[in-house]
Subunit: 292 residues, 2 copies
């Protein structure tokens, strides 16, 4: 009886919280809602240590996943069209193999879980994108990620989560350069397929190419994040005031927020604060964007 009463109280409390949240979001929606929020999920391991959780079972990462689920829910309810998250950078692969393994195993489960009926992706009809140097991932994770992308291709839900695994900005830029060069190289080959290749043509092409072998638009076309709009807000937890090599190219006119909490501790108040800060600075950021 006592237990039932407690359960009911908890249920009513959650319903009340949900109404309060929706009320806050309704007020926020009077201002401009950002199109894209990028999250650097920093501090999972420190959270595990702080809470004296076992480090070897990636307890911090599990807590981090719960925090992510809540943040995705808030973003969806706020009407944010695009969310990008950075759970695992290329640098993280250089940690101890057993630690990498302990993160990779639940990652595979979570990706497979995306396609289950009750998952947040299915609930919100979201289209999932995995971005990064996918060749660094293990075969099962790569296959699961591709399967999730294909399965959600026709989803037209408001939110598009971009999951940047095995990603760094510098790797993204180098990848875009290499893709642009490959394309350019193939283009040159095709253009000269039917011609006699002689010094004159080479000189002429060199003159032409010297001015703009690779252009800005070539690079941007081949970025991993080409489909997404540039982030409006970049939230990095742990208050570290560090960039973490995430979407450097795309965050020039973006608001940086560094709440002084570890990722699993992030909550409603941080997302509300970030959106309010964005609304406060929007006209300034827009002006800078127009000047660019």
């Amino acid at each position: 009886m006592e237990r039932e009463r407690e359960d009911s109280a908890t249920k009513y409390f959650h319903v009340l919280c949900s109404y309060m949240r929706k009320f806050i979001f309704r007020i926020l929606s009077v201002g401009t809602i950002p199109n894209h929020i990028a999250f650097i999920m920093d501090g999972n391991r420190r959270y595990a240590k702080k809470q004296s959780l076992r480090a070897d079972d990636a307890a911090g990462h599990k807590a981090g996943f719960l925090a992510l689920t809540s943040m995705l829910k808030y973003c969806y309810e706020l009407g944010i069209k695009c969310v990008s998250i950075y759970p695992f950078s290329i640098d993280n692969f250089k940690r101890r193999p057993n630690e990498v393994q302990y993160v990779m195993h639940p990652t595979l489960k979570k990706i497979q879980g995306l396609l289950k009926e009750k998952s947040i992706v299915q609930k919100y009809g979201a289209r999932v994108y995995f971005r990064g140097n996918m060749t660094l991932l293990t075969e099962p994770i790569r296959v699961a990620a591709e399967k999730a992308m294909v399965a959600t291709t026709n989803n037209t839900g408001m939110m598009m989560p971009f999951i940047c695994v095995a990603y760094t900005s510098t790797d993204e830029i180098v990848h875009a350069i290499q893709e642009s060069c490959n394309n350019k190289w193939v283009g040159i080959q095709e253009a000269n397929g039917s011609k006699a290749w002689n010094q004159e043509i080479r000189d002429e092409e060199y003159q032409m190419e010297e001015k703009a072998i690779i252009k800005l638009r070539d690079i941007e076309k081949h970025m991993y994040m080409d489909v997404a709009p540039d982030p409006d807000i970049l939230i990095q937890t742990s208050g570290k005031h560090r960039l973490s090599n995430f979407q450097l190219w795309h965050t020039t006119y973006c608001l940086l927020c560094s709440p002084a909490v570890l990722w699993p501790e992030i909550g409603l108040r941080h997302s509300v604060r970030a959106v309010l800060d964005f609304q406060q600075h929007r006209s300034y950021l827009d002006k800078k964007k127009r000047q660019a």
Copy 2:
């Protein structure tokens, strides 16, 4: 008599401040001193408005130059080897022509002033580097900048100020890509200068190049900032928490500081606070750098 007494008091006050400052720096030097501090000088125009100064004579920029002189002095006294400043980005050229002109004119004077005997550059025996898309500058400024670089080539003073004019990070990266492509193209031409150019060679080269036409080290070699070590601290005034497209490639493992003051208001306390923050977070940043 009254005036003389006031002058003496001011003089003693300055001497006292100087001793106090050196004492503070001596204490700071017990910890690690950063190699490179990068400054984004944001807020000159807002300072002019705030102080109701005349905007058309670039009064804010003049106040900003005084603040810069003080910051360079503090950096020199602290033993910081390299300082980079970002007074004028490519985007700033898109402002109203008269405003660009009002900034360009004193800029030319300041650059010419660098070579005068009493200038800060001569006092500290500093070697000056100008970096950015110099073709965007007017002829007199470009000539003055080149003259300043040549004249200070043999200076071996501790501090190297990198003055990034007509600079943005994305422009730097695209420039590095184009330089790398040009070099690669010339290399391919030279390698085949004595050979008969036939389909077989082209195929073979394509195979070879496809894997790595342009490598990470090619890009880094052609960056404007290739001579400088990566910044340890990036200080952006105005507390805007925005990246401003400055040294994005180089600031991955760098501490971001955003003091909530306009550039002309920056002072000793902000530089001390930034160095203390750097010393506090150094082991974490170093660890991240090692993992990269």
